[in-house]
Amino acid sequence: MAQSTAAPSSTTQTVTPLPLRTLAPWAVFFGVLMLVLLYFVGAEQGATAVLSGENVHEWVHDSRHLLGFPCH
């Protein structure tokens, strides 16, 4: 962090955007990971299934309904 000169008026300083190059790998990897989580809460063993059975569906049943996903 640089030295703080005079009175730092936070209202006037503009925010520098985070460079896309540093953001991209995080966005891709964690974006996909988060979508997988959403899939398991929202759709697994409903419309399609990766795991067999009904356990995931039954376990998150109430949250799936209440979050707005088509459940069954």
Binding site: P17, E58, G68
Partner: protein, 248 residues
């Protein structure tokens, strides 16, 4: 501004989402379980099949199961929103960290939930045939994708015309364009399933308002917590000169 910042913001976004998920769970347990139970009672009174042994008991579904779903959902949307925040920061206008976080959360609530459910509303148990769940899931995901893409397009449009028309006029025009195109898409897309005959309209209404409440609690709690946490990463308080020597 390096990848350490992105990592910190991502972690804080997921933590804020986790906390928001806890709040949403409390709300869902208090407000949402009543209509769900009423719908299940209707289903059992009217079905001829069903009646096998249940894999997960109702008492688990309404507590641990509900909590699992909402906490995982909270972490997931927290992560996604944190990444969207990292992109939006400094790119959507002259907003600081907190305002950008609030706007990101508002956009998430509107684009990922409220706009899609206007066309395909949440349904309690007993509403919607299991035979059509595939079609309904595809249409719901399609509606979410459409709403997100049109939302991004509206922001780009607003940014493009802001220097010419001014912020207020450009934002209004972008908003109107968004509503118009979304309305056209909703008019064209097929409708969802009907509730079965005799299903109480009040229960349906209460279930749906509970669902909206849960998502509103989740996104509001996320936006406010994450804004607070992100601001402390991005705009560290100017060190008071005498005490600043301690940290080095």
């Amino acid at each position: 501004m390096n990848s350490v910042t992105v990592r910190t913001l991502l972690v804080r976004g997921m933590l804020a989402g986790l906390g928001a998920g806890v709040l949403a769970f409390v709300f869902a347990y208090l407000v949402g379980e009543g209509p769900v139970n009423a719908a299940i009672a209707f289903e059992e009174a009217n079905s001829h099949e069903h009646g096998g042994e249940e894999l997960v008991s109702r008492s688990l579904q309404s507590t641990a199961g509900l909590a699992t779903g909402l906490l995982v959902f909270g972490v997931a949307i927290g992560g996604i929103a944190a990444l969207a925040f990292c992109f939006a920061l400094g790119r959507i206008g002259r907003f600081g960290a907190r305002a950008t976080a609030a706007l990101t959360a508002l956009a998430g609530f509107l684009l990922l939930y409220l706009v899609p459910i206007l066309k395909y509303p949440p349904n309690p148990p007993a509403v919607g045939s299991p035979d059509t769940v595939g079609k309904r899931t595809i249409l719901f995901v399609l509606m979410i994708a459409l709403s997100v893409l049109l939302g991004i397009a509206a922001v780009l449009l607003g940014r493009k015309f802001a220097p010419v028309w001014g912020n207020w006029n450009a934002s209004t025009a972008a908003g109107v364009a968004f509503v118009a195109v979304v309305a056209m898409a909703m008019a064209v897309l097929p409708s969802g399933d009907n509730a079965p005959k005799g299903f109480p309209a009040t229960d349906l209404w209460e279930f749906r308002t509970a669902s909206i409440g849960i998502q509103a609690v989740l996104w509001a709690a996320f936006g406010l917590t994450f804004g607070f946490l992100a601001e402390r990463v991005l705009e560290p308080r100017p060190a008071r000169s005498p005490a600043s020597t301690v940290t080095a």
